[in-house]
C-alpha cells in the first residue's frame, strides 16, 4: 500500500472577524488533528485560495499562480463587508473552488439563514460557540479526503482516465469510511460519555440531534436532511 512520505493533515481554512473566535476555532481544529489557517475576512480567504480581486470567479484563469489548498472552509456568517454567505456564493461560483466543502458558523439561530446557506451548498451549519463534539461531524469529510488521497497515490498509470479510476475505487472508499467511522465511535464517546453509540446509523442520528439540541432551545425544527450525511446512511 502506498503511503504519503510526509504526514498529510486535513487543512482547514477558518474565516472569522472576531479574534477570540479565531483563536478558539484554531484550537478546536488543531485538537481534531487538522492543519489550520485563519483569516479575518472573506476577501482574505479568497486571496488565500488564489482568487484574484476583480476577476470573475468562474473564469478559470482567475486563480493566481500559487493558490493555497484547503480541504474545508469554515466561516462565520456575520462579518463586515463580505458575509459568510457572500463568501459561500463566491466559492460555489468558482469552478476551481466549488468542490471544497464549506461550513457556516453563526451565533444566531435563524432558520431562514440556515436554510439559505444549506441551499447555497454549505455542508453544515454550526451554532456558536462551536464545541469539540460539533467538529466530530467533520470526521467523515476528513476520512473521505484522506482515503481519496491515499487511493490516488496508489494509482501509478498516468494515462488512466482519472474519473473512471476514482469511480472504480469509490465503493471501497465508502466501506473504508464506514469502518473508520465505527473505529471513531469511542472518540465521540470520550467527549460525550453519556451516549453509547453502537452503530453508524445511531451516530448519524446523534449528529442530527446535536444540531437539533441547539435549535430546539429556540423551538425550531432542523428536520431538513443534511446532504453530507445521506451518503453515510445509504452506505449502512
Amino acid at each position: 500500500m502506498g503511503m504519503a512520505a510526509a504526514e498529510w493533515k486535513f487543512h482547514v481554512l477558518a474565516v472569522d472577524d472576531s479574534l477570540v473566535d479565531r483563536k478558539l476555532i484554531e484550537r478546536l481544529l488543531q485538537k481534531s488533528s487538522c492543519q489550520v489557517t485563519t483569516v479575518d475576512s472573506g476577501y482574505k480567504a479568497l486571496e488565500f485560495l488564489g482568487l484574484r480581486q476583480g476577476i470573475e470567479s468562474n473564469d478559470t484563469t482567475a486563480l493566481s499562480l500559487s493558490p493555497q489548498e484547503a480541504n474545508l472552509i469554515i466561516t462565520d456568517y456575520c462579518m463586515p463587508g463580505m458575509t459568510g454567505y457572500d463568501l459561500l456564493k463566491k466559492l460555489k461560483e468558482s469552478s476551481a473552488l466549488k468542490n471544497i466543502p464549506v461550513v457556516i458558523m453563526s451565533s444566531e439561530n435563524v432558520p431562514a439563514r440556515i436554510s439559505r446557506c444549506l441551499e447555497e451548498g454549505a455542508e453544515e451549519f454550526f451554532l456558536k460557540p462551536v464545541r469539540l463534539a460539533d467538529l466530530n461531524k467533520l470526521k467523515p469529510h476528513m476520512m473521505k479526503t484522506k482515503l481519496k488521497n491515499q487511493k490516488l497515490e496508489e494509482i501509478e498509470t498516468p494515462s488512466d482516465d482519472e474519473n473512471g479510476t476514482v469511480a472504480a475505487v469509490e465503493p471501497e472508499i465508502k466501506d473504508s469510511v464506514e469502518m473508520e467511522i465505527i473505529k471513531m465511535l469511542p472518540l465521540q464517546s470520550e467527549t460525550e460519555p453519556k451516549r453509547v453509540l453502537l452503530q453508524v446509523v445511531q451516530q448519524e442520528e446523534q449528529m442530527l440531534s446535536n444540531n437539533k439540541r441547539k435549535s430546539m432551545e429556540q423551538g425550531l425544527s432542523t428536520d431538513r436532511p443534511r446532504p453530507s450525511l445521506e451518503g453515510i446512511a445509504t452506505a449502512v
Partner: protein
C-alpha cells in the same frame, strides 16, 4: 511539600467551583479548559486576555457613540454589543453575556438611558471577571511552583446551578 500542594489544589478546585456557582462562568469555560493541554498550557489565559482586550475596546467605542444625547449612533452600539455578546459567549463569561442581552434590547428600542446603564454594568462585570480569573490563574501558578499538577477538574454549570433550567442535551 505534598500537603502544601494538596492544599493549593483544594483551594483551586473550590475557587473554580465557586465561580460557576456564582454564575460568573458557564460550561463554555469548561470547554475552553478541555482544549488546553501540556502542549498549550497558556491557551485559556491567552483567550481570556484577548477577550478582556476586546471588552475594553468595545466599551470605549460604544461609550463614545452614546456620549451626545442628540446624536447617538445606535447602529454602532448595536454592532459593539453583538461582538461583545459573541465573544463573551465564546469564553463562557456568563454574566457579561447576560448584560449584553439586556443591552441589545435597549439598543433595539433606542433607549439611550438604558444603554448607558448596561454599558456601566458590562464594564463592571468584565472587570470583576478579570479579577476573579487572575486569582484563579495565580492559584494555578502557585500549584505549579510548588511542584504540583493543576487539577483536571471540570465543573458542570448545569449541575452546580440546578435552579437554572438546563439546556436540552440530545
Amino acid at each position: 511539600m505534598n500537603t502544601v500542594v494538596a492544599k493549593l489544589q483544594r483551594q483551586f478546585q473550590d475557587y473554580l467551583v465557586s465561580l460557576y456557582q456564582q454564575g460568573f462562568l458557564d460550561n463554555q469555560f469548561t470547554e475552553l479548559r478541555k482544549l488546553q493541554d501540556e502542549g498549550t498550557p497558556d491557551f485559556v489565559a491567552e483567550v481570556v486576555s484577548l477577550f478582556f482586550d476586546d471588552c475594553s475596546k468595545l466599551i470605549n467605542s460604544m461609550s463614545r457613540s452614546l456620549e451626545r444625547p442628540e446624536n447617538v449612533d445606535f447602529k454602532q452600539v448595536d454592532s459593539g454589543v453583538h461582538q461583545l455578546k459573541g465573544s463573551s459567549s465564546s469564553v463562557g463569561a456568563r454574566r457579561v453575556k447576560n448584560v449584553c442581552i439586556s443591552f441589545k434590547e435597549c439598543c433595539d428600542v433606542q433607549n439611550r438611558e438604558g444603554c448607558l446603564r448596561c454599558l456601566q454594568q458590562v464594564d463592571y462585570e468584565y472587570k470583576m471577571l478579570k479579577t476573579k480569573l487572575q486569582d484563579l490563574f495565580n492559584l494555578e501558578q502557585q500549584i505549579v511552583q510548588a511542584g504540583g499538577a493543576i487539577p483536571q477538574h471540570f465543573p458542570s454549570y448545569t449541575i452546580l446551578r440546578p435552579d437554572i433550567r438546563p439546556c436540552l442535551d440530545a
